[in-house]
Amino acid sequence: MSSKGSLLFLLHAHLPYVNHPEHADFLEENWFFEGVVETYIPLISVLDRLVRDGIRPGIAISISPTLGAMLENEQLEKKLTRYIDSRLELIEKELLRTENDPVLSKIVHLYARLYEEAAGMIHKYSGDLITPLKQLQHAGHIEIITTSATHAVLPLLAHPEALRAQIAAAADDYFDRFNTKASGFWLPECAYDPRVQTYLKLSGFEYIFTESHAVNFADPAPKTGVYASYRTPNGINIFARDADSSREVWSAKFGYPGDPSYREFYRDMGYDADYDYIKPYLSADGLRRSLGLKYHRITGEVDLSKKLYYDPDEAMAAVERHAADFLDRRMRQVEELHSGKGIRPVIVGCYDAELFGHWWFEGPAFLESVLRKIRADRLPLQFVTPGEYLNSCHEPAGLNPQISSWGENGYFDPWVNETNDAIYPKVLDVTDRMIETANRFRSQDLSSVTLRALNQAAREVLLAQSSDWPFLMYIGSHSQYAAARVDGHAANAARLLSEVLERRVDEKFLGDLEKKNNLFHRLDFRLFASVSKF
């Protein structure tokens, strides 16, 4: 059946760079382990199963350079294996403990399968999860794009040199990781300002994604709204997020993930179980924390202690219902646009990948069900990747998007407010010093140590600019860690730059930083030099 419209799904996979080789066990590294087990591996499995059954997923995935670097980090891989082994040991005990309780035992078996699948995939790919993604892209099943080097909110970078460095470093990083040039660029937090166009073009990117009001409130506003792609004056293609399909999936309150039969995220055996029983599986500090084994369902608006046990069959029935409802709504949307406005729309759904599996446990199953139903029900809808859409659509209309983001209130409030604004003088000052030093040394013959120190200073500046630190401070989660990361990276960069200027680089300090913050292997500090000086 010929399609009346296209669905374009973009899953944005990102975690801040957290690597502490100096510690055997570090709390914030668990973000990565949980992301791998609960989101990245289940998503790869979904894609593999679909391909095996002859269904082409046709979705886009952005993988941030910081996540990519962690997925390739051997020390983190060893810790990840330890994490999975430790959970499997606990699950083994749980299987014994619950063997006479059919309700609980069924849930524990579910976790056994999840962690065994993780262990199996890590073994299969020798710990390198980029490989299966690369294979899927190479075979044309998915499209992988990138985002700014450390997920900086680009409109909050006052210096054009910093914009350029964030974008150019991401382009190089993608090429090194995927052996091909990236076409698409995910604007972190969908944060757009017109300055980004120039630097995206310079780095060879062809398309970006914006929030809906960037397009709907452009002057003049396009008649086709968010249901077509557009082109900026310098030739960057724009896709805008569709609010309806986003809300249905995104919202914990109004969307599918809040269904009473789905797994409850916040009730975890790390808080429920007998302390001595779980102590071997807690961090070295012995504090009760989430262990990832969650036996309850959302139930309704009741206290955590009143939550009922999770029923995997009931949850899967809800997944099927929600997938059917999602497609029914998209069909109605497409019909309305097709017959009412005479357009063949593209409906763009952009989601944080970690929503699928980590926050919304059933999310990967929902995605799989949506993709299978389109085929099974012979719906006149097709999943397209951004590149495919651009190759097949008419010449996009010109448009100047508005300054915007997908954050609360639509602009930059979550990243600049009274809880986190103290970081900006530090970040901007050290960026300024990086630019000044890059301009000074850009055409000099440099000793190996000086070059290494300048390149590491550039890494530290990029890491200080990450959007995650102000966001964590804003939501009051791990805020001390976030503040310390900004202070640490800014101080590291400032020290290295001073040492270069004073010609006394401390090689021990430099070596330790290179080992710890070891991403962007071929980063050249000259990316921070002022463009006009080239």
Binding site: H213, F217, S246, F412, K426, L428
Partner: protein, 130 residues
Amino acid sequence: MSNETNFILSTDKAYLLPRNPSAFFICWTWSRSRAEAFEAREYEPEILVRLSACEDKAVSGETSVRWDSGKLYMKPPAEGRAYSVSVYGRRKDGRQEKLLESNAVAAPVSAPAPGTSSGYSSAEFFRKNL
């Protein structure tokens, strides 16, 4: 002095960042020598922060704050226009001296309740009551 902002860094700089259509964030840093000049009362402790439109340089708003407060929020008078900030100090003899000038930033244009209609909820998950 504000401990929180750590305003004495390395250079005399002012920065302007967009927060939303009705708020700019402005912050500044001082070099050690300039900070010492303020501490020695070569300048009055109050500085003047002036917002000007880039197009015609018209003064669009100004406010006086302590030199070491390090940051403030100001409302841009018109959405969609570009602005920059200048920071002035006053010498003991009354002369006003321009000390800092920021980058230029365009004020975002309002869209009706964009965040609530677009279904962003990453933070919703984080904020859910435990």
